[in-house]
Each structure stands twice: as C-alpha cells, then as structure tokens.
C-alpha cells in the first residue's frame, strides 16, 4: 500500500461517542495557556474535535475581558464542560447543570477529586454524581481510577466513556498502569480514554498502542516550551499509536532473530 493510502485509512478510522462520530482521537484541555490566542493555535495544531472547558464565575467588575468562546467557536468544536476543582458530588452536579444551561450540551466530563496532593478521583462521590447526572439526561464521560471493577460499574450505570488516569493529573509521568488500562479496554463496550498523565508524544502513543479509543490531555501541551509544536507532536503520537495498534505489533522474543536471510550466505 502506498503511504498516501495508509494516511487515507487513518482518516477513515472514526470512533463513536454518545452517538456522534469523531475522527480525532485526541481531546485537549484549554487551561494553562498564556492567552486565548495560544489556546486556539494549539487546539488547531492538535486537530482535536473536542476540547474540555471549565465553568467559573464571570468577572462582574470587568465584563469586557476576552472570553474563550470568542476564540474557539463552540459551533465548530465540541465543548466538553468539566467539573475540575469539585471535591464532592453535589458541587460537581451543580457545576454541570450550569454548564448545560450555559452551552446547551448534554455531553460532560465528570471528575470528582479526592485530595489536592494527588488529584486522584474520589470514586464514592463520582458514583453518586454519575447516578444523578445520568438520571437527568446528561451524557457522562467519567474520570476514574484505573480499577476495572469500578469502571464496569460506571459503564453499567450508563456512562458514555470511561476515562482512567495514566498518572496523576498534571504530572506528565506517562502511562504508569498499562496492565490496568488494558484490562479496562478489554471489558468495556464504551470508549476508554486515558485522561491525565501523558507527558510527551511517546506517552500518547503508548496509550493508543494499548488499544485506547482516545487520549485526553492538557498540561503536556500547555506547559511545553512550544505548545503549538507539542500539540502537533501529540496529534502525530496519537495517530501513530493508533496505527501501530491496528497494525498489530510483532511478538516480543527473548533472543535475537536476524532480519537478513541466512540462505545464500557466502
């Protein structure tokens, strides 16, 4: 197959999320950039079709500050409101109700955090919030621990995507839990995305090679020296990992196996 054909195959490789079809398997956050111009440039370079956004109080004393929606058009890119900063179910639910009213979207990212140091998910509160939100018609993508049993429970409840961490939020440590992530992928009937932990492009590839449907990241791009360049690197890393997964890697062997034929050796 010619390289251009391979590329065409990649672009046809779509995934389904809550009834919608997406081509890009990279979801990017919009926090920590130096300004909205840089945010927009990085999002464009990443090729992401979905971006996460936070819900916060409007600065009433300075209403003419630039707004995210003026730089990233919600009609062209899917806004995924999150509950970052929420440490209990009630505040997460309250935040997403406001988000739905602000934007009119049902697709949300639920994350209920356990403590400031690790930003690990509080799964008890996460279950509680997910139950209320699903009952109210939200389509819940859920940030969760890398526990396959908890993930199966969240899927049974009706979450539309399971999003375990690969390492603590903002740590950039790479995928620390390939065994758990793979178990979660094997059992899930909804998309599984690694959410948090990616530090550089090879980490994104590792996640995709495990068979993830996608990767969600923010800090790895925003805190790179050149965020726009890193956004493109992440796009390529995700695509390359996905292709490698589809291609099926060679088995690992204990010893060497020559690449040149031995027959005809002088």
């Amino acid at each position: 197959m010619a390289p251009s054909d391979t590329h065409n195959d990649t672009t046809k490789d779509t995934w389904q999320l809550a009834g919608e079809s997406y081509s890009s398997r990279l979801i990017v956050g919009t926090g920590k950039y130096k300004d909205f111009g840089e945010t927009a440039a990085a999002v464009a370079a990443s090729g992401a079709e979905i971006v996460t956004v936070a819900v916060r109080r409007v600065n009433v004393s300075d209403p003419n500050q630039p707004m995210l929606v003026d730089y990233l058009d919600p009609k062209k890119i899917t806004y995924l409101p999150n509950t970052a900063g929420c440490f209990d179910a009630a505040s997460a639910v309250r935040t997403l109700r406001l988000a739905r009213e602000a934007g009119g979207w049902d697709l949300v990212k639920l994350e209920v955090l356990g403590d400031q140091k690790t930003l690990y998910p509080n799964m008890l509160e996460t279950f509680e919030a997910a139950e209320v939100l699903i009952k109210e018609g939200f389509k819940v993508m859920v940030y969760c621990s890398d526990d396959p049993i908890a993930a199966a429970k969240l899927e049974d409840m009706g979450c539309v995507a399971i999003m375990p961490l690969g390492a603590p939020i903002g740590s950039g440590l790479g995928i620390q839990n390939p065994v758990q992530i793979r178990l979660m992928i094997e059992q899930a009937k909804v998309p599984v995305l690694v959410d948090a932990g990616v530090g550089t492009a090879s980490d994104a590839s590792v996640a995709m090679e495990l068979g993830c449907d996608g990767v969600l990241m923010n800090t790895a791009i925003a805190e790179a020296k050149d965020p726009v360049k890193m956004a493109l690197a992440m796009k390529l890393g995700v695509e390359s990992g996905r292709l490698a997964y589809l291609a099926g890697r060679m088995p690992k062997k204990k010893y060497a196996d020559p690449s040149s034929p031995l027959a005809g050796l002088i």
Binding site: T30, K32, V53, R56, V60, P63, L68, A102, T219
Partner: protein, 68 residues
C-alpha cells in the same frame, strides 16, 4: 428604594423591577454566553426576561473558561 442582592459572592444594590436579562445587560454581559443560578436554582435562558430579581437574591453568573 434599591434592593440588595448577592452576585458571585459580593453584595450589590440594584433598582427594583429588574429582570435577569436587564440586569445582565446592565453589567454589559452577553446573556447568550452565561448561565445564571438564582438561590441555587438554574434560571433557564428562556426565562431571563421573565424572572424579576427580588431583595436578598443570591445569583451565580458563570461562563466557560479554559480548563483541562
């Protein structure tokens, strides 16, 4: 006589008889780009012009910002 309401945690005097819509416009906020919670209940955008603010109301006005 003016009323006193709380907006995003801060007290604020307002003229009586204002709807959520006119209040937002008075703040120079685009009502299409924000969501409003009044006394812990969401105010639907379609009701912005109908809901009249009352003395002691607690308002939260939020919008989308960058986040991960």
């Amino acid at each position: 006589m003016s009323l006193s309401i709380t907006v995003n945690g801060d007290p604020r005097p307002i003229e009586p008889g204002q709807s959520v819509w006119t209040f937002l416009e008075g703040l120079e906020l685009d009502p299409k780009k924000v969501a409003v919670e009044r006394n812990l209940e969401i105010v639907s955008k379609s009701l912005f012009k109908d809901v009249i603010l009352a003395d002691g109301d607690q308002l939260e006005i939020v919008h989308f910002i960058g986040g991960g």
